[in-house]
């Protein structure tokens, strides 16, 4: 019998001020409701428009569990269509990338559709004369998602009419996207390097929470980052610290470092670590880059852009971006206990290649299925997924630095080890889960 479906009170009761019930992580019915409500009422990242540079280019992905195509239409705008033939349901494309030319053609019965999804032609059309096809679902073509927004290249979609508009949903949090994009002397990013895909046997929210969990690196990553520091200590004196060690070492920074970096929360579940400094603050300068930035923006503005070293910005519900690294991680929910993590990297258009090289090294060392840092984290998520089966305690604690005067949907800057951002996410979770129940 359904425990949560149609029972918004039961869903709300899963979230308390300082703890959340385990069913948000392990219950498949809650997961189904997340897909129907949370992932339909909020703005979900689809892709970057540099993935579809030419007219007719498409990129296949999922919004929640809905298969979609992001496509460059003949008028150069980017559309998002459900990837399903309106006739028999056949998936129109299976390749991740391709070019449709002027129209999509279903491989099953050759129905064709313009790149905005509208029905173009049906073979032997006279068979539908006087059948009332015009009024059918099929006549609508490949249904477009109505609510699509391309923000400086980053494309988001909202499946439902309900839920806030794009600006209201993201508000000031877009400053993290702005900073990442402004780091390009041309003010533009391009997807580059290839995507790392890493399968996790855990709930998607564990990954999202981990992005602003600043009390785990020095513990969980002692095995990887700590070992990197120990191995490097044995290097010959005077040896230049390699890029890889610069990337690993800050994970072992002490608690005080993370407390001092600060956390900022925004309304609707967004937030970021690294208000004042971050693990990305002390990378070596890349020759020629600062000069390019000064030429593009002037010295004052260039400095302001590069002095911002935000660590992880969570865009609720399921992505994280790293501005200083030009990285977007997408936590794709597959089941209550299964999540596909995609880690996408970007080239700063007009900047030296060495920046992309560092970005790709970071991604490889931290986010790959072969990454030792990734192994550390996944082990913790999977142990949590297992441990939550314990009936004796059915609650997960998110209490660190809780203040009873804390309110939902506000903007605040606070201690870098707070779990406020996790509470922020769960307050937003409750709101977007129940607004259409």
């Amino acid at each position: 019998m359904a425990k949560y479906r149609g029972n918004s009170e039961a869903v709300r009761s899963l979230i308390r001020e300082t703890e959340v019930h385990r069913d948000v992580y392990i219950d498949q019915e809650v997961f189904e409701l997340e897909m129907e409500h949370l992932f339909a009422n909020s703005w979900i990242y689809v892709g970057h428009d540099s993935q579809v540079p030419n007219k007719g280019d498409y990129f296949g992905t999922d919004v929640g569990r809905q298969p979609v195509l992001m496509v460059r239409h003949t008028d150069d705008t980017v559309h998002v269509l459900y990837n399903r033939c309106p006739h028999k349901g056949t998936r129109i494309t299976s390749e991740t990338y391709g070019n449709a030319g002027k129209f999509f053609r279903c491989p099953y019965h050759a129905w064709s559709f313009k790149t905005d999804g509208s029905l173009l032609a049906i073979p032997l059309r006279k068979g539908y004369e006087n059948t009332g096809l015009e009024a059918s679902h099929a006549a609508k073509g490949m249904a477009p998602i109505k609510h699509v927004r391309n923000y400086r290249g980053f494309v988001f979609a909202k499946l439902n009419d309900a839920g806030p508009g794009f600006e209201e949903f993201f508000g000031d949090s877009l400053s993290s996207f702005d900073n990442m994009i402004d780091r390009s002397p041309a003010g533009r990013l391009e997807v580059a390097g290839g995507v790392l895909r890493y399968m996790h046997d855990c709930n998607w929210k564990m990954l999202v929470e981990n992005q602003t969990d600043t009390c785990h690196p020095m513990v969980a990553h002692e095995s990887s980052a700590g070992t990197a520091i120990e191995v490097w200590k044995k290097a010959p004196p005077g040896a230049k610290k390699p890029m890889a060690v610069e990337i690993y070492a800050p994970f072992m920074a002490p608690y005080e470092f993370f407390e001092g970096m600060g956390i900022r929360v925004w309304p609707n579940g967004h937030g970021h670590t690294g208000v004042h400094h971050s693990i990305h603050s002390d990378y070596s300068a890349v020759p020629g880059y600062f000069e390019q930035m000064v030429t593009a923006y002037g010295e004052q503005r260039a400095k302001a852009i590069l002095d911002e070293n935000r660590h992880n910005t969570v865009y609720f519900p399921n992505i994280m971006i790293k501005g200083p690294i030009q990285l977007v991680r997408v936590f794709k929910p597959l089941a209550a206990n299964k999540t596909l993590v995609e880690s996408w990297t970007f080239r700063l258009v007009g900047a030296p290649d060495m920046l992309l090289e560092r970005t790709l090294m970071y991604n490889r060392l931290i986010n790959a299925p072969t990454s030792v840092v990734g192994h550390d984290d996944l082990e913790m998520y999977e142990r949590a997924q297992e441990g939550l089966r314990v009936d004796a305690n059915q609650w997960v604690n998110v209490q660190r630095l809780y203040d009873p005067s804390e309110v939902a949907d506000t903007t605040a800057v606070t201690n870098g080890t707070t779990e406020w951002q996790m509470r922020n996410q769960f307050r937003a979770w409750s709101k977007f889960m129940t607004m259409t129940m």
């Binding site: 390699p242 299925p369 990734g374």
Partner: protein, 160 residues
């Protein structure tokens, strides 16, 4: 300097994977030249390890970090430890350049990694670029192309 025979090259590759399967990782590391690399591309037919992402592209320092980490008391993803198993086809000698001190072998293989109740099977091709240093064969580059390198994988914690 005596050039290695084809059988020497084949024996080297077989021995190299045996060291991995038997968790003799320090001996395994010693098989790499000081500037040797281990490369596991992400893309089919990938040519560039620098501006295209790889699953692994590691010098001896990074490999050493992995080997040390596997032994660590607080390496929780190795409690319990992973085990692995290679099945190799006979390595084929693709290149012998005695003057340039470079030898290349190509070895199709199946690789299994297990931990707890989970067992993952990978099919791959290993390409070894070898050279002679002080009378011994050493690895300049071990390239492992997984057949489905762009698929979504769970943890790969040991070495193919």
């Amino acid at each position: 300097m005596t050039a290695p025979t084809n059988q020497d090259l084949i024996d080297f590759v077989v021995h190299e994977t045996r060291l991995i399967d038997q968790h003799r990782f320090e001996e395994w590391l010693d098989l790499f030249a000081e500037d040797g690399r281990y490369w596991m591309p992400l893309e089919w037919g990938q040519t560039d390890p620098r501006l295209t992402t790889s699953l692994m592209y590691e010098d001896k320092l990074l490999l050493k970090i992995r080997v040390e980490r596997l032994k660590g008391n607080r390496t929780f993803s190795q409690k319990p430890k992973s085990r692995c198993h290679h099945v190799l086809q006979t390595p084929q000698v693709d290149k012998r350049d005695e003057a340039g001190n470079e030898y290349v072998t190509w070895t199709p293989m199946h690789y299994i990694e297990t931990r707890l109740d989970r067992q993952d099977l990978y099919a791959a091709w290993a390409t070894h670029t070898l050279c002679m240093i002080d009378g011994k064969l050493r690895i300049k580059l071990k390239r492992v192309d997984i057949v489905n390198s762009d698929a979504a994988f769970g943890n790969i914690q040991l070495f193919m």
